[in-house]
Amino acid sequence: MHLAYPAVLAVLLFCVGLYGVLARRNAILVLMSVELMLNAVNLNLVAFDVWLRDTVHAGQALTLFTITIAAAEIGLGLAIVLLVFRHRGSSDVDRLTGLAEPHGGPGAPHAPDASDATPTPAADDEKAEASA
């Protein structure tokens, strides 16, 4: 089989996931998109493992690890989303703008819980990117 097929499929899946991460409003849908991206990577790992016929099966082992980590990540991510939802009453990513520069100039007061809650999804997303 041509390697290009799984590779291109992985690329396209990754980009679809990318679009979802950037375009979805609901934090849980963003997490789903992250899962898509992770799976695209997994597909790549498997395909290259099969192609290279690695004797230690690094590709498949890594895929298993990735799946595990993805499961852990989705658990933590959902916990965070729930926390945010409980605090803010919404899980819309583009409404969690507590880190925004206040328009009244620097130093204007804003809700302290917002600054507590919002960094976590951001860090979470980027962590997902990094692991992907």
């Binding site: 041509h2 590779a7 690329v11 679009y19 898509l36 082992a61 499961a71 852990a72 916990a79 965070i80």
Partner: protein, 202 residues
């Protein structure tokens, strides 16, 4: 490898496996696209099931059967369930929600298309003639995978279990309501992860 690739016919003569792979791949891609575009949040989760399931079939076609079953068990079985729980716990609307996509959509589309174009170009350019030999000893049988996993990857495997434990504790701590506040509905966020790790560990 290059020799064997050169000996085989190119794109013009696909084998049966390839045709199957491409068809399943198209279905997977379509499901993934629906996942990220549908306006019904619950449907998105269901389309995600289709996409992940399609990927499991692709793994099978690539002779990685153990991975395929793990994919079905963990992703389709637990992760999606977890996501559905999440959707419900955050009171996601049932039915079409007009504001499922943020205002960032056009930018996201641009970035995604650019990334897709660049990556497809690079990947096709690099692996145009590469041939994967799917015959011979199966790469991904349970036997082979288990052997390599417990022979070469024991230490990362154990480290991973510690990571899972940490994630477990973290999820519980995060989703725990403050002392004195009633109800424990959100502990569900932690327990499916627990069940997932349990399956993985076994």
């Amino acid at each position: 490898m290059n020799l064997s690739a050169a000996a085989h016919p190119g794109f013009l003569s696909p084998t049966g496996v390839e045709i199957t792979f491409v068809l399943i791949g198209l279905a997977t891609l379509g499901a993934a696209l629906l996942t990220v575009t549908t306006r019904q949040l619950v449907h998105a989760a269901l389309w995600l099931v289709v996409a992940l399931g399609g990927l499991a079939v692709e793994y099978l076609l690539l002779t990685a059967e153990f991975i395929a079953w793990v994919q079905v068990l963990i992703y389709v079985g637990s992760v999606v369930v977890l996501l559905l729980f999440g959707l419900m716990l955050t009171k996601a609307p049932i039915g079409r929600s007009p504001d499922a996509d943020s205002e960032n959509r056009l930018v996201a589309l641009g970035v995604a298309l650019a990334a897709a174009a660049a990556l497809v170009w690079v990947v096709v350019d690099a692996f145009r003639t590469t041939w994967v030999d799917l015959h011979g000893v199966a790469q991904g049988s349970s036997h082979a995978t288990g052997e390599s996993l417990f022979r070469h990857w024991v230490l990362p495997f154990e480290a991973l279990s510690v990571l899972l434990l940490a994630a477990l504790v973290g999820a519980i701590v995060l989703s725990r309501r403050d002392a004195g506040s009633p109800g424990g509905a959100t502990t569900g966020a932690g327990s499916p992860a627990d069940s997932a790790t349990g399956k993985e560990q076994s």
